[in-house]
Symmetry: C2
Subunit: 419 residues, 2 copies
């Protein structure tokens, strides 16, 4: 599919992340105004809430956009998702009769503050990138036992904490936690010394389910995708995670990009998962291309310093697709809810410069990386700003997600002091 032309010139540039083909969904505000639903186009945001109020968007069963989140649209189902894209395309396409009315509803992105685009119902994080799992497993258990026995048979995951999901731009406070060094007899309560990022994609469940769903049904339930940084305190994790999995190590914050890229915008970029190393049981088998060819990168900028791109990889490196993860998530009968967020797991490529976490990039801290400005890093330092970027490259256009950024604030001096 080629570029779809808009009357808004900035949307037609080949590197613009928000062409008419994209139409990602966010929640924005300007100045002191209340947050409201918006759709990115070129270097502007269409005030979708006002467009609906004015009758320019008129969805079956609506209004849906009189609230500052997109969950009501998700819940309305796939027919409404398609209707939304069709109507907004009509408003913004080159030659649209409605240009005059629509132009009055555009806000420059540069003037807008972005907010959480949806209410996160529940958050699940997977561990379904094979390079990442092999890297981490090798460090912790040796190369022979790198992959747990179940790893090639199910997308392993754990429930995370929805309340700690934040939008790009929200600072992230270095956490305190209980840690124990191997050379100490007893644990201590300290600020994390091994605070890390995880480069992931997040899939957003759009429609509810009650019982087990197939991989095809799961794929159809997914409303859209965001970039996701699952901040991780490795030292807290090492002490707490056996036998019940990560808990406080992953509960400080999870950052997402501000724009939900609807699954429909990613259709041209579908790719198959890599070859299976072991046959999957029938209910988890691939039934078609359900990963997406999305270039991903991580930038680290020290406080007042220069940015370094510390990793470049691609979403197609995943061993399991989000559809497979969601299908597995429902096998027990677990009900899924509109607004559920599924983290892919860290997306590392096969090479050293394609690893999606500091844990892997610095090989557990043993091989610090050197930044452009000359500083070195094993884990993240206070003041570091981390930015995830994602882009699917089409025929003369780009599908972007907006930056997923977070800056590390120093740990509280005394976490129990109250003002």
């Amino acid at each position: 599919m080629p570029l779809m032309k808009s009357w808004l010139d900035s949307a037609n540039l080949p590197d613009c992340p928000f062409p008419l083909n994209n139409l990602p969904l966010g929640v924005f505000s300007v100045g002191d105004e209340e947050p409201r639903c918006g759709i990115a186009i070129g270097d502007h945001i269409l005030d979708a809430a006002s467009a609906e109020a004015a009758g320019l968007i008129d969805l079956d069963g609506g209004p849906y956009l009189d609230v500052p989140f997109w969950n009501d649209v998700m819940e309305a189902g796939a027919a409404v998702w398609a209707e939304l894209r069709a109507q907004v395309t009509d408003l913004l396409k080159a030659g649209s009769d409605l240009r005059g009315e629509v132009e009055a509803l555009l806000v420059p992105i540069a003037d807008a503050q972005m907010h959480m685009p949806f209410l996160v119902a529940e958050y699940t994080d997977f561990y379904a990138g094979k390079n990442h799992a092999v890297n981490v497993g090798t460090m912790f258990r040796g190369a022979e036992n790198a992959l747990p026995p179940n790893w090639l048979h199910i997308p392993i995951g754990y429930n995370g904490r929805a309340s700690s999901v934040v939008v790009s731009g929200t600072p992230v406070r270095r956490p305190w936690g209980q840690l124990k060094s191997p050379d100490h007899d007893v644990p201590a309560f300290l600020p994390s010394r091994r605070f890390d990022l995880e480069l992931e994609m997040g899939a957003i469940v759009g429609t509810a389910s009650e019982g087990p769903v197939t991989v095809d049904e799961a794929d159809a339930m997914i409303f859209g995708y965001v970039l996701l940084n699952d901040w991780s305190a490795r030292d807290i994790q090492a002490w707490e995670y056996q036998p019940l999995g990560p808990f406080q190590a992953k509960a400080t914050a999870t950052s997402i990009s501000p724009w939900i890229v609807m699954a429909a915008a990613l259709e041209p970029f579908r790719v198959m998962t890599p070859a299976r190393e072991k046959d999957l049981l029938p209910h988890l088998r691939d039934t078609g291309p359900m990963l997406f060819d999305i270039d991903l990168s991580v930038e680290l900028r020290p406080a007042g310093g220069t940015s370094s791109t510390i990793a470049r990889t691609n979403y197609r490196e995943m061993y399991f697709s989000a559809a497979q993860q969601l299908a597995h998530h429902t096998t027990s009968g677990c009900p899924m809810t509109p607004g559920d967020l599924l983290g892919s797991g860290t997306i590392s490529g096969p090479t050293k410069d394609s690893r999606g976490s500091m844990l892997e990039l610095s090989w557990g801290g043993k091989e610090p990386i050197t930044l452009v400005g000359g500083e070195s890093r094993s884990f993240l330092e206070d003041g570091d700003s981390l930015t995830l970027r994602g882009a699917a490259k089409g025929d003369g256009y780009t599908i972007g997600f907006g930056d997923c950024e977070g800056t590390i604030l120093p740990a509280l001096a005394d976490p129990y002091e109250r003002n």
Copy 2:
């Protein structure tokens, strides 16, 4: 504190679970009417929503009871919680001038259908009963390594699935899942053969937090308690839980009792945690009695058969209190939300007949138990009805929770068949 007398005689009987001292909060309906907030008293329910609409309950900042859940009251904070109890006590106490008006708002419990009493924001399940952890650890890792190294230092927990929490009386469908027997090379997708209960208490977070909270602050944040059965598929769990913890094994359902017993009703029953075997770090230390002396039991009734009490224990068997669990939950800065539900972990006593799961009662299936009717059980069978009961015994009165019941439905013949 002695029994507080009500003008409703049934509330004054020493074994009545719902005396004036209790006033637990639920959501009920009669016939085809919409669910609404109610408060149990004797063998009746006070229609609290109608009482508020009539001005008999008038809380600061209200109305709160025009919705079919108690979350708005939780969020209003401790002053409103106390106001609610004081006003309802005035309505129902012996000699109340308002008896005539209030009597018209009583509904027999026998006529009511109970619903979820609150919207579960997020659900966390802990593993903080020492007898349970030692039993399970001994079975899986041997007596020498029964307790993981972190166990005595932090209340270990994992995030569960809020969407699968159901109210007592909801049937529970035996799940399918991926399993692997030790004597098979590859896993299979089958109905669980080792489906189990877990006897727990649930603590409900009433007020929000942003950063780390102390144990005292955590205790004050807890709105109330319910009985909780964390249904568990042991064979699914065995295959999936390493390294990231339980996931689908615990996602089929978690049942809670229909009545929230407010923390205030349990004040007379506070007890200390057992003696510490290792000093806790300061931020997790006990600052007073924060467990409760609540007798607990589990009954198993086969389809069409006779009930057997298979376990009797007490909430005071916990090693960590809910306040300690909640304090630990916030150490990383994890935000807590009104309606968060914290499962205590399985509450097993020191003796064989005080174990809170079939896994322990039948010692992993090796020592099946015999029921009153002569049948034996290693794990749960289709048609089995499980009932948890809890009672705090006061001076001439009882604080009850209402039964927490669930009956096992057979697994779906084909989980992917659609009508």
